[in-house]
């Protein structure tokens, strides 16, 4: 098979798997698991083959125009460069892991067939975005991901949290997608084509008339999809979905799409210095704010969600200083360790019967109940905190290194201010990241108190997947020598200054948290806390749904627990209260957008019910009254009718005579 055929099959196989899964889910339940796992696995194999054949050399382009569509043609195009093929491999690997993990995690779930099919569709849409060489085809995959995330986040739709979260995810990302669509149209109008190669050619020859406008419009869509400030609020709430879905959304699909999109069209963004500064500020606010918020969360998955937002901030930061190699490097390594973190968190939630860190910190020996999750999560948290030699260290240092270069004014088209913003906020975030990673690890695995509940061993498929993902989390950094061949050729090796600074800050963060934890842990015994799921022996998905549903009733809020033994509370001080609720951004949005919209809806309802419907009802009531009056004359006596007829004729005759005589 040619490389092009293979590349076409990569997004097509999961799509066919999804279609077959949806069709056969009820009639042939035995085929659901193979139909979910095999196409994704096969497409991963094909993605690896495509990556090997492409080999980081000249980009492979193929296009076919199905039908003429008017002014600017829309083509089914592939554009396989080093970035595309490597990201596709990441998507395939993570999606395969998630599918295999789900067969254990949602073993007894009645909606597993539709769930697996939607995961396949989600994967296929992301692969379409990755490989597509045409912006409109890319947009199709982009929007399919939006609707898939809506369905998957709302998988436990019996709980009100899941319903609200799925709607929020859909609406917030759509809020970004509208400007994104206009940005695409403006870009195509300026460049004269939707093909990425043509667009990049037009940018290179200076053919863009409104680069800042286009870049800012596109940034809105990217902020929505990649959960960047100010459109990030959907991501922490999306934790109401099943853990494998979170892993998929956070590691490989959806949030990666925004970063990947900028990486693909980076020359469009570097054409405008203003857009780069906006992107840098956005990334800086996102990463520091989310790291502070992560330190205050009580739900283990919400900690990870905020850490995803922060790591995405690193990627957009790298893009803001014009280096897509570092951004995609961090995307790849983050995809591996974040998928691992989420899948391990799913195992922990199942074993502990709760998603609350406060409750976990009051359980002894949780780590010996889930040894696989304990060791792999330790690896992934070290990678997240960027401790050498784990994967996260190399990719994060690559980002900080390019930021340092840009701050020194070595970047060609990049403003030095953007470099400084990213460098400073990146170092602050490195400190905070290590802090919340340490806090998560200490609270989850170093608890004191009652013995952790014993529910037997976790399913083998779930544990095996964790070890598969632990390998790249541990060793992916070693590929930094090879990766520049696939990327733009920029060197990705860490520079000495930023490495020492970043690692030092991370160590400081970890040690300070440890000290704070030693100080507060004595309090834990005094304040009993903790509620566990009602059915601890059930399927992991059921346990998780119950844990999410019971968090707000048990602790007062989905994100917050009144736990004085939390080291995050000591470290953040008065900030803790604000950080726990995401710095009141949701409340601000409620006041700014939700209330006015509700008021407008109330007004429209009033106008409809009280004004428009009055006319409609009047139009019905008046004839009815008239009819009632006329009906009284209908006595059934024929003679009465005739009498009235006669009287009418007499009156008419009289009138006719009168009129005739007057006329004469």
């Amino acid at each position: 098979m040619t490389t092009t055929t293979l590349a076409v099959l990569v997004p097509l196989l999961p799509f066919l798997g999804a279609a077959a899964g949806l069709l056969l889910g009820r009639t042939a339940p035995g085929f659901v698991r193979p139909l979910a796992v095999l196409p994704t696995l096969l497409s991963t194999v094909f993605a690896v083959l495509v990556a090997l054949r492409q080999g980081g050399g000249q980009a492979i382009d193929a296009a076919t125009e199905l039908t003429p569509t008017g002014s600017v043609p829309v083509e089914l195009a592939l554009h396989l460069d080093g970035f595309a093929v490597l990201v596709a491999v990441l998507v395939g690997v993570v999606a395969s892991c998630v599918q295999i993990y789900s067969t254990g995690y949602l073993r007894d779930d009645p909606r597993y067939p539709s769930y697996a099919a939607l995961i396949s569709l989600f994967t296929s849409a992301m692969l379409l975005v990755v490989y597509s060489g045409d912006l409109i085809v890319l947009l199709v995959g982009w929007e399919i991901m939006g609707i898939c995330s809506y369905f998957l986040v709302g998988h436990y739709w019996e709980t009100p949290e899941a319903r609200a979260a799925s709607l929020k995810a859909f609406l917030v990302t759509k809020l970004g997608d509208v400007p994104f669509l206009f940005g695409l149209f403006a870009l195509a109008a300026d460049a004269g084509s939707f093909r990425i190669t043509t667009v990049l050619g037009a940018v290179a020859s200076g053919g863009l008339d409104h680069p800042t406008l286009i870049a800012l419009l596109l940034l809105a869509g990217v902020a929505g999809k990649s959960a960047q400030f100010p459109l990030h609020t959907w991501l922490p709430d999306a934790m109401a979905g099943p853990t494998p879905v979170s892993a998929l959304i956070h590691a490989a699909t959806m949030v990666a799409a925004g970063v990947y999109f900028i990486a693909r069209l980076l020359p469009v963004f570097t054409a405008s210095a203003a857009a780069l500064v906006v992107l840098a500020v956005m990334a800086a606010v996102t990463m520091t704010g989310s790291a502070l918020a992560a330190l205050a969360q009580d739900d283990i998955k919400r900690v990870l969600a905020y850490s995803t937002i922060g790591q995405l901030g690193y990627m957009t930061g790298a893009l803001a200083v014009g280096d897509r190699g570092a951004a995609v490097f961090h995307l790849l390594s983050h995809g591996a360790f974040k998928a691992l973190l989420f899948l391990a968190a799913g195992v922990i939630i199942h074993a502990a019967g709760t998603n609350s860190l406060a409750a976990m910190s009051r359980m002894r020996d949780l780590r010996s109940r889930v040894p696989d999750a304990y060791w792999t999560m330790t690896v992934a948290l070290l990678a997240l905190a960027a401790i050498p030699p784990f994967a996260g260290f190399f990719s994060k240092e690559a980002v900080l290194g390019v930021a340092e270069h840009a701050a020194a004014g070595e970047g060609a088209a990049v403003p030095a201010s953007a470099g400084w913003i990213i460098l400073v906020s990146g170092l602050v975030t490195a400190l905070l990241t290590a802090t919340y990673a340490t806090r998560l690890w200490l609270l989850a695995f170093r608890g004191h108190g009652a013995e952790a509940p014993d529910h037997g061993r976790q399913p083998v498929v779930m544990n095996a997947v964790l070890w598969v993902l632990a390998v790249p989390s541990l060793a992916f950094g070693l590929t930094m020598g090879l990766l520049p061949d696939w990327f733009d050729g920029h060197d990705l090796t860490p520079t000495l200054t930023t490495s020492v600074l970043g690692t030092g800050l991370a160590l400081v963060g970890g040690l300070v948290t440890y000290g704070a934890w030693r100080h507060t842990t004595a309090l834990a015994a005094r304040v009993p806390l903790g509620a566990v799921a009602a059915h601890p022996e059930a399927d992991a998905g059921v346990v998780e749904a119950e844990a999410i549903a019971s968090h707000a009733p048990a602790y007062g809020d989905v994100a917050y627990a009144p736990d004085p033994a939390d080291p995050g509370r000591l470290l953040l001080g008065p900030l803790h209260r604000h950080a726990a609720v995401g710095f009141h951004l949701d409340a601000a949005y409620t006041a700014l957008f939700v209330r006015p919209v509700r008021a407008a809806a109330e007004l429209v309802r009033f106008l409809d019910r009280e004004v428009v419907e009055t006319y409609v009802r009047g139009a019905g009531t008046a004839p009815r009254w008239l009819g009632t009056a006329v009906r009284r004359a209908q006595t059934g006596n024929v003679q009465t009718y005739l009498s009235v007829l006669l009287a009418g004729s007499a009156v008419l005759a009289a009138v006719a005579v009168l009129v005739a005589t007057r006329g004469a």
Binding site: R631, R632, T635, G636, Q639
Partner: protein, 130 residues
């Protein structure tokens, strides 16, 4: 003979017929009153025909021809009418027009006169048709 005599006679006949149609209760008497009205019209037709032909404005005697038509139609009408009356009488046991109120608007509510006899009447009607 002056035209006034037959005209006045015709008016008297018509008014008698009209009174009968509007006031009598027996269906046969109503039919007879209809005949009276028709014949009043016939009288008018003949009288005016004579008057017009005398003035030589109408040589075709269309009034008389129309009268013949009216008589024929009246014969057919009275045949059908009497047959209907007979059928109604057989079905209902009465030919009182005041009691034939099937077309009345039935009012909802108990103790209503319009609905009460309707159901047995319907049953009788279907019996007669069978």
């Amino acid at each position: 003979m002056h035209l006034a005599y037959p005209a006045v006679l015709s008016v008297l006949l018509f008014c008698t017929g009209l009174y009968g149609v509007l006031a009598r209760r027996n269906a046969i008497l109503v039919l007879m009153s209809v005949e009276l009205m028709l014949n009043a019209v016939n009288l008018n037709l003949v009288a005016f025909d004579v008057w017009l032909s005398r003035a030589a404005r109408d040589a075709l005697h269309s009034g008389q021809a129309l009268t013949l038509f009216t008589i024929a139609i009246a014969a057919a009408e009275i045949g059908i009418g009497l047959a209907i009356v007979l059928a109604v009488y057989r079905a209902r046991g009465t030919s009182d027009i005041d009691k034939l109120r099937d077309t009345a608007e039935t009012r909802p509510g108990p103790g209503d006169d319009g609905t009460e006899p309707a159901a047995p009447a319907m049953a009788e009607k279907t019996e007669a048709a069978a």
